[in-house]
C-alpha cells in the first residue's frame, strides 16, 4: 500500500484513474484515443500537484515533515556525504543510538557530521528510540564536537527529532543539563558549525544540536518551541486543535525565515523530500557547501563573535523608558 496524506487524496484518486485507464483501455469513454486521455489525466495530475503542494497549510507541512517515507539522517549521510564512518558513545554511560555521529566527507572536505536518527520500522524505532535522544546522546554529540574543534574539522548537524526523551532515566541522568551544556559549549566552538533541520525540529531537543553559525531548514521541515499537539492541549485544552496551534506558533520554514530565525530554506522536490530523495540530497549538499565556504572564510574569533551576536539578537521586547 502506498502511504498518502489526507490532502494528497485528490492526486491519488487521479493516479488510480490513470492506472485503471492504462490497465483497461477499453473503459475509456471520451471521444479521443486512450493515449491522449492518459496524457490529459497526467497533465491534470501535474497541475493538481503544483496547486496542492505550493499552498500547504502549517499542519500539512508538519505532516510532510513527519512522513514515514521521508529521508532520515542516515539516508542523507549516504547521499549528501561520502565515506561516513560512525563514532560511538559518550564515554560515560552508553551509546545513544538516537544520535548518530562520525567523520565524513562533504564534497572534498573532511567534516564531523552528527544528527538525530529516527527508525523506519518498529524494530528500528526501538533501537533509535523514535529519534528522541537521552542525555548520553547530547553528551556524545558534544564529545565529538569538541574533538572536531580540536582538529579544526567543520561540524555539520542534521536535526530530525520530536524532542529529547521524556523518561525517568533521562531525568535521572539530567537531560536538561546535557542540553544546556551543549548550548553553552557550542557557542564557543571555534570551527564552523552548520545546523540543518531536515524534518522535525522539536524544541530543546533540537536546539541542543542547533547552536550554529548558520541554521538551515528544509522546505517542509518545522522547528518549534513545543509540538503543535502539546500547545493545543495546553492552550485549547484539546489536542485536536493542533492545526490551529501549528499556525499560531509559526513553525514552518517560511514562517521562520520571515521571522529571521533561520538563515535559509533548502528547497525540496515537489510533494516533499521523499518523492525524490536524490534531488533533496543534492539541494542539501549545495546549500551546505555554500554556507560552509562562507563561514570558513571568517577568522575563528570573528566566527565566535558573529555566532554570539546572531543568537543574542533573537527576541523582541518593548522598552518604554529607552524610547523616551
Amino acid at each position: 500500500m502506498k502511504y498518502y496524506l489526507d490532502f494528497e487524496k485528490p492526486i491519488v484518486e487521479l493516479q488510480r484513474k490513470l492506472e485503471d485507464l492504462r490497465a483497461h483501455p477499453e473503459t475509456h469513454s471520451l471521444g479521443i484515443s486512450v493515449d491522449e486521455e492518459c496524457r490529459l489525466v497526467e497533465a491534470k495530475i501535474e497541475t493538481l500537484r503544483r496547486q496542492i503542494y505550493s499552498d500547504l497549510t502549517s499542519w500539512q507541512r508538519i505532516q510532510l515533515a513527519r512522513h514515514p517515507k521521508r529521508p532520515y539522517v542516515l539516508d542523507y549521510l549516504k547521499s549528501v556525504f561520502t565515506e561516513f564512518t560512525e563514532l560511538h558513545g559518550d564515554r560515560l554511560y552508553s551509546d545513544d543510538r538516537a544520535v548518530v555521529a562520525g567523520f565524513a566527507h562533504l564534497g572534498t572536505q573532511r567534516v564531523l557530521v552528527l544528527g538525530t536518527q529516527k527508525g523506519r520500522d518498529t524494530k528500528e524505532n526501538i533501537l533509535r528510540n523514535f529519534g528522541s535522544a537521552h542525555p548520553e546522546g547530547y553528551r556524545k554529540a558534544l564529545r565529538l564536537m569538541k574533538l572536531a574543534n580540536k582538529f579544526g574539522l567543520p561540524i555539520i548537524t542534521l536535526i530530525d527529532t520530536a524532542g529529547a526523551y521524556p523518561g525517568i532515566g533521562a531525568e535521572e541522568r539530567h537531560i536538561g543539563e546535557a542540553i544546556a551544556v551543549n548550548l553553552r559549549e557550542m557557542m564557543l566552538l571555534e570551527v564552523p558549525v552548520i545546523a540543518t533541520v531536515i524534518g522535525e525540529g522539536g524544541s530543546g531537543g533540537a536546539l541542543g544540536l542547533g547552536v550554529a553559525d548558520r541554521v538551515l531548514i528544509l522546505e517542509n521541515a518545522y522547528y518549534s518551541v513545543i509540538s503543535p499537539e502539546g500547545c493545543a492541549s495546553i492552550l485549547w485544552k484539546d489536542s485536536s486543535a493542533k492545526a490551529k496551534a501549528a499556525a499560531a506558533l509559526r513553525i514552518t520554514a517560511r514562517d521562520l525565515l520571515e521571522l529571521g530565525l533561520v538563515d535559509e530554506i533548502v528547497s525540496e522536490p515537489l510533494g516533499g523530500a521523499h518523492n525524490d530523495p536524490a534531488a533533496a540530497s543534492l539541494s542539501i549538499q549545495k546549500s551546505l557547501l555554500r554556507h560552509l565556504s562562507e563561514v570558513q572564510a571568517w577568522a575563528p574569533a570573528d566566527r565566535l563573535q558573529k555566532r554570539y551576536a546572531k543568537f543574542r539578537a533573537f527576541g523582541k521586547v518593548n522598552e518604554p523608558a529607552a524610547a523616551a
Partner: protein, 312 residues
Amino acid sequence: MATTLLKKKTVVNDPVEPAVTPPDLTTETTFLTKPKLVAKSKKRDIPEGLWDKCPKCKSLIYDKELDANLKVCIKCNHHFPIGARERIHSLVETCSFEEMDAQMESIDILKFTGVASYEAKLAANKKTSLLKDAVITGIGRIGHHRVALGVMDFSFLGGSMGSVVGEKLTRLIEAGTDRGIPVLIISTSGGARMYEGMFSLMQMAKTCGALAYHSRRRLPYISILTHPTYAGVIASFATVGDLILAEPGAMIGFAGPRVIKDTTQAELPPGFQTAEFLQEHGLIDAIVSRNEMKDRLMYYLDFMKVGGLATE
C-alpha cells in the same frame, strides 16, 4: 484563575510532549497560592493576624510569623511560594539593589491567536502579579559581595521564559561579565513561553551563550532552583551553574511528571524530580533552606573568588 482545575483534568490525555514548555505546572503552582487567598477573604473581619495552613504538616501558622520566616513553615520547613521582590529583599543589603530594565515588557511578536490572545494574557498577568514580566534583575550587594542577581517569579505566566526574560537575564549576565562580578539566578519557571514561539526557544541559547563568556572570564555563577523549575529553563541557564542549589522539596525537571508517565507508561519512583531526588542522583550541589540561603551564598562566594587564578 477559575479555570485551573478544568485545565488540570483535560491535560491528562496529553500526547507525548517532550517539548520545552510543560503543560501542567502552571496549574499546580497557582493552586498552591490559592489556599492563602481563600483564608484571607474568609477572615477579613478578624482585625489582627491571619492564619495560613501549611499544606504539608497542616498546622496553622500566623501570617506575620510566616512572612518573618521567609514563607517557610516554622514546624516542618515547608517552603511556600514567594515573590521575586520578597526574595530580593531577603538576600541583598538594604538599598544596595539597583534594578535593571525595570520597564521592559513583552510584545506579541507572533500576533498569537489562541483561545485568549497573548496580549490579553499579558494584561491579566500584569494585574494579578503586579509585575511587568517573570523576572527581576539588577546589581546588588550580598554581604560584601557585589553580584548580578536575577530572580524569577512564578506568578507571572508561570514564570515562563519569553523574549523579556531571556533579554533581561542576558543583559544581567553581560553586566556581570563586564563588571567582573558573580551572577546569581534564582529560577522558578514552567519553561519557555509558547506565545512567543521560537523566539522563546532561542532565549535558551542566548542566556547560555552569555554564561559561556561569563564563565570564560573565570567568574562564578550560582544557579538556585526553586519550586517549580522545569523544561526550557532547566535545559538552559538553570543547569550550567558552577554551583547548583535547590530549595527543599522543590520540583525540578525537564519533562513534567505527567508527560513522563504518559510516555513511558512506567510508575514514577517515589520523590521523583524533588530537590532531594536530584541531590541523591548527583545532579545538584546542595539543598539549602530559604532562610539559610543568604548566609550560604556569602559563604560559597568567599570560596569562589573572582579571578582566583590569573585570568587569560
